[in-house]
């Protein structure tokens, strides 16, 4: 029953943490020669990813290449880092409030 309530949000949170890890590795590899920025196609994965599966990693297109062959843009990664974090916070608040609704249904609104 709870799966129906939090299922989509859970998938969203899973995808956000996978993406956050990619952002972390992009930042860690900012000075690695020849490293290509990695990302996931968020919309596509959210619509099609089955439970328990890993999202497909793609290389970001259209980023200018530096002389050492890497195309990591720290500004882009910093933006994604905080964007992911805020999305994650939002999703966790939503999950929490939905679970609270269920809790209230169980206690008949009398519990805290």
């Amino acid at each position: 029953m709870l799966d129906g309530i939090t299922g989509n949000l859970e998938r969203y949170i899973d995808l956000l943490s996978a993406r956050q890890k990619l952002v972390a590795s992009n930042i860690a590899n900012a000075d690695t020669p020849g490293y290509k920025t990695q990302d996931i196609d968020f919309q596509f994965e959210f619509m099609s990813l089955a439970k328990g599966q890993q999202p497909q990693v793609i290389q970001s297109q259209g980023l200018p290449e530096k002389p050492d062959g890497s195309n990591v843009n720290l500004d882009r990664e910093a933006r994604l880092l905080s964007e992911n974090q805020m999305r994650f916070n939002l999703a966790s608040v939503l999950v929490k409030s939905q679970l609270k609704t269920v809790h209230e249904a169980i206690t008949g609104g009398s519990g805290s």
Partner: protein
């Protein structure tokens, strides 16, 4: 656990940048060193980074985990010829009175050091962001 392995990725970035900073500081400190165990003047050293799959034995079960850490794959030594300065009174001077000094440009090292510090900070920012996400997930259970 995707989020906890993000911490591992960022910390690999931090330690790689720290190694780089240590070598750069060593270069600056030895910019006038004319004697080394290998003989001859000190030579500038720099690191080469490469991507590194974070595969701890436990996470080997989840082989298709995304994201890679970074590691120092190589330390390269500058092969440029030493700088020759005319100092006939110096004990290391050759027959013509020239002393071989390390070819180190302090500006080059300082700029690299700044870049290394900034990259280190970026990794720290990533860690605190992931930490916040983890504590938010723990909050759901409260």
């Amino acid at each position: 656990m995707s989020l906890f392995s993000s911490l591992q990725v960022s910390s690999s970035g931090m330690s790689a940048q720290r190694t780089r900073a240590e070598l750069l500081v060593q270069n600056l400190a030895n910019s006038e060193t004319t004697r080394t165990p290998e003989g001859g003047p000190y030579r500038r050293q720099d690191v080469v980074f490469s991507t590194d799959q974070q595969a701890s034995p436990f996470s080997a079960m989840f082989q298709n985990e995304v994201g890679t850490g970074v590691s120092v794959s190589d330390v390269v030594t500058d092969t440029r010829d030493p700088e020759r300065r005319y100092m006939p009174g110096h004990p290391d001077a050759d027959a013509d009175g020239y002393v071989a000094f390390p070819r180190i440009n302090p500006a080059e090292d300082m700029v690299d050091l700044l870049s290394s510090t900034r990259s280190y900070e970026a990794n720290v920012a990533a860690i605190s962001s992931v930490k916040d996400m983890i504590s938010r997930s723990i909050d759901i259970m409260r």
